[in-house]
Each structure stands twice: as structure tokens, then as C-alpha cells.
């Protein structure tokens, strides 16, 4: 129940200062357009491998910017207020779930942008959506914990990128190779290994965040 209340609070805060979400949408749109412009009149170079690499790298950058702010807004006295009224685990679950939803929205938006600019190349939409949701969950889980570390440091955005890229490499590798299979329409047989590894990454990062977050939160 408390998790739902905290989740509601996240939505309300986001709704009240819409500029953060607007900025994020514009960021995603700009990345898509920069990529499109760089390949202008060279569209024949974009094969399955290039498409999936571009797609997930652009989503990774948007995800970094989306998640890094999730603990920055709570700076100052609100921190100690939450500390008194709620437990660390409830807060972590609310933040993680909210970030995952945000990343799924960004994923759908990137999907639309890429389909318009680069043509819709995905042969198996249902599997691609499954892959996308699992990847967003893995990214959201890992980046939320890192954002809570980065929020304690002066150059939060820089530290977030430095800490986040090596940790998210395995997620992005799985997403990219899975997307190549979705473009080629090879079906579930070619994709189950990627889905399994992503599921395992989700389980590991959620379990480890659950154990470690109280230590970050205590300060």
C-alpha cells in the first residue's frame, strides 16, 4: 500500500513540474533526429545490426538522463522526512517501478521515432515488445540504485555515466543481439537465450539492490 502511495507521489511530482518529462521527450527526439541526419542519403548502410545498435544506444543515453534525476529532486530536508515516514525498501520499489514505467514510455517513443525516420524493420513486434520490456526493467533496476549513489556526489550526471556504462553493457549486448533476431524474424527459438539472460540480470540486480539500498539510504 505504502509503495502505491509513494508511486502516486512520483507521478504527482512529475506532473507538477512537467518540464523534466518534456525535456526527456525532446532529448529522445533529438537523438533520433541526429542519427537520422548522420545517415541521410546513406540509408542503405542501415542493416539489422546497425539499426539495433543505434536504437539501444540512443535509448541507453535517454535512460541515463531519465533515471539520474530520480533521487536529485529529493535533496535537502525531504530526504530525512521520507526516512521517518517510510522504509528504504518501499522507497526503492516505488522509485524502481516508476523508472521502469518511464523507460517503457521512452522505449515506445523511440520505437515510433525510429519507425518514422528509419522505416519499420521489426518483423516480430510481439517478441520485440517482450524484449523491450525486459530490457527496460533490467536498465531501470540497475540504474535506479546507481542514481541513488550518484545523487550523493557533486557531479551527479558525470558519475552516473561513469558508473552506469560498464554495469549496463551486458544488458545492452543482450538487447542488441535480440533485436537483430527480431528484425530477421527468427522467432522465439533464436531469442530465448537473450530473454533468459535478461530475466536473470533482472533477478540479480533487484535482489542485490534490495540488499544494498538500506546502506545508501542511511546517510
Amino acid at each position: 500500500m505504502e509503495v502505491l502511495d509513494l508511486l502516486k507521489k512520483e507521478f504527482q511530482f512529475e506532473w507538477r513540474s512537467k518540464n523534466a518529462v518534456q525535456g526527456l521527450l525532446l532529448y529522445t527526439l533529438s537523438i533520433g533526429f541526429i542519427l537520422y541526419s548522420s545517415f541521410l542519403f546513406q540509408e542503405h548502410l542501415i542493416n539489422a545490426a546497425v539499426w539495433s545498435a543505434l536504437f539501444w544506444i540512443s535509448l541507453l543515453f535517454s535512460a541515463m538522463s531519465a533515471v539520474v534525476k530520480s533521487f536529485l529532486g529529493d535533496r535537502g530536508n525531504t530526504d530525512s522526512y521520507y526516512y521517518q515516514i517510510t522504509s528504504a525498501h518501499h522507497l526503492l520499489f516505488a522509485k524502481t517501478f516508476y523508472n521502469i514505467l518511464l523507460l517503457v514510455v521512452l522505449f515506445l517513443l523511440s520505437m515510433v521515432i525510429f519507425s518514422v525516420l528509419f522505416g519499420s524493420v521489426i518483423a516480430d513486434t510481439g517478441l520485440f515488445a517482450t524484449l523491450g520490456i525486459l530490457t527496460c526493467a533490467a536498465l531501470g533496476g540497475a540504474l535506479t540504485l546507481l542514481a541513488s549513489i550518484a545523487a550523493k556526489v557533486r557531479n551527479s550526471h558525470l558519475i552516473m555515466a561513469v558508473l552506469g556504462f560498464p554495469v549496463t553493457v551486458s544488458i545492452i549486448l543482450m538487447a542488441v543481439s535480440g533485436t537483430r533476431n527480431c528484425i530477421d524474424g527468427l522467432g522465439l527459438d533464436a531469442l530465448w537465450r537473450e530473454l533468459l539472460v535478461l530475466g536473470a540480470i533482472n533477478a540479480i540486480s533487484l535482489a542485490v539492490s534490495f540488499l544494498l539500498f538500506p546502506y545508501i539510504w542511511r546517510s
Binding site: K152, P166, V167, T168, L173, I204, S205
Partner: protein, 224 residues
């Protein structure tokens, strides 16, 4: 003297093992194999770096967990210095590997899954030190870096232990390439390889221990 020997026997063992593996690794005869030829001796000098690195990072994780449980500065120093020593061994492993790859694969960097995994492991520990450097509060630096150390290690499990097994590697022993298990029937190479692994791990523990003592002295001088 006997108590001295009892306490520091492992340092003598380390010197003896590394002297033995350096001499035997260069002189003892090795199986003849196409392409690999004499570079097979890299097994004695390159592969122990990775065993040493993984052991150092393992000790570092252990002390990070200890720090979160006990909140003492010694555990924090241990975690940081074992990570430092692991990083040094990892860099040496990459360099010796690149030297070897230059002669057997034709170029120093081949995008082999094991090469990429190693490079990313080093990135994680470089990020660990960037994080430590950017936190001024000693207690906060120890706690947050311990959390990152544990989390990053957990996140690397699929990268190092799962994904390389899904892809083919050009390293001897995987992807259809003969490894030393396949051709080394008389186990000659093991007689040099295992002592080398133990020797390098002992040397890593020794280096990290000296660094920790240097840190303690430095902290003591600052406190005075």
C-alpha cells in the same frame, strides 16, 4: 627466527614459486603446436594474471561486505587496495595478452569476447576509483564505494561467466581451439602453471598488504 618464519613463510613461498615459474616457464620444454609454437609459454605468464585479478577482486568484494557489516576503516582500506592490485594485474593481463595476440592472431585487439569482458571489468574498477575520488566525506566514500563494488560485481556475473559461453572465443581451449587440457597429455605444463597461479596470488596479497599499511600510516599521521 622460527616465529619470523612461521609468520612470513608465505612470502618465502611466493618468492620461491615465482622464481621457479620464471625459470621453468622459459626453459622447460613445451608441446609443439602449429601457429602457437613457443608463444604457448604465455600460459605461464598471461593466464595467472587473470587468476590473480579474479582473486584480488574477490577479496575486495569480501572486504566491502565486511565494511558494510562492521563500518571499520581497515576493511575499507583492504577493499580499496585489493581492487587496486586487481586492477594492476588486470592491466598486466591485457598487455601480455595483446603481445601474445599480436603474434598468434595477427593484431593486438581482436574483439574476442574474453578480451571485451576483461576490458569492461577494468572499466568497472576504474569507475570505482573515480567514485572514491569524488566523495570527500570519508565515511560516505567507504560506504558508497562498498555498495558499488558489490553491485558492479553482481552485474558483471552474466558478462564474464554467461555471455562468453554463448559466443565463440578464439582463445585456446574454447570455440574448437585446442587448450592445454586437450594436447597436454603428460601434464608437464600444469607443473609450472599451478605454481605460477599461486605465486601471483600470494604476490598480490603481499602488495595489497603493504599498500594498506602505507594507508594506515598516512591516516595516523593525519590524525596526529
Amino acid at each position: 627466527m622460527s616465529s619470523f618464519l612461521k609468520k612470513f613463510w608465505w612470502k618465502y613461498l611466493c618468492v620461491a614459486l615465482l622464481t621457479y615459474t620464471t625459470v621453468a616457464g622459459l626453459l622447460v620444454s613445451v608441446p609443439r603446436l602449429a601457429i602457437v609454437n613457443e608463444t604457448i609459454r604465455a600460459l605461464y605468464f598471461h593466464v595467472p594474471m587473470w587468476f590473480g585479478m579474479v582473486a584480488m577482486f574477490g577479496f575486495s568484494i569480501y572486504y566491502s561486505i565486511q565494511y558494510l557489516r562492521k563500518q571499520d576503516s581497515l576493511s575499507d582500506f583492504m577493499a580499496a587496495e585489493f581492487a587496486n592490485t586487481g586492477l594492476l594485474l588486470g592491466i598486466l593481463g591485457i598487455l601480455t595478452g595483446m603481445l601474445w595476440a599480436n603474434y598468434t592472431w595477427g593484431s593486438p585487439w581482436h574483439g574476442d569476447p574474453k578480451q571485451n569482458g576483461a576490458a569492461i571489468a577494468l572499466l568497472v574498477y576504474l569507475a570505482y576509483f573515480v567514485l572514491r575520488g569524488s566523495l570527500d566525506n570519508i565515511e560516505q566514500r567507504a560506504r558508497l564505494s562498498a555498495v558499488y563494488n558489490i553491485f558492479a560485481f553482481a552485474a558483471m556475473i552474466p558478462l564474464i561467466f554467461v555471455i562468453p559461453r554463448l559466443q565463440d572465443s578464439m582463445h585456446p581451449g574454447s570455440g574448437g581451439n585446442p587448450g592445454f587440457n586437450v594436447y597436454d597429455l603428460d601434464s608437464r605444463m600444469r607443473l609450472v602453471f599451478y605454481p605460477a597461479v599461486i605465486g601471483w596470488i600470494l604476490l598480490g596479497v603481499w602488495v595489497a598488504g603493504l599498500q594498506v599499511r602505507a594507508r594506515q600510516i598516512k591516516q595516523h599521521l593525519e590524525d596526529v
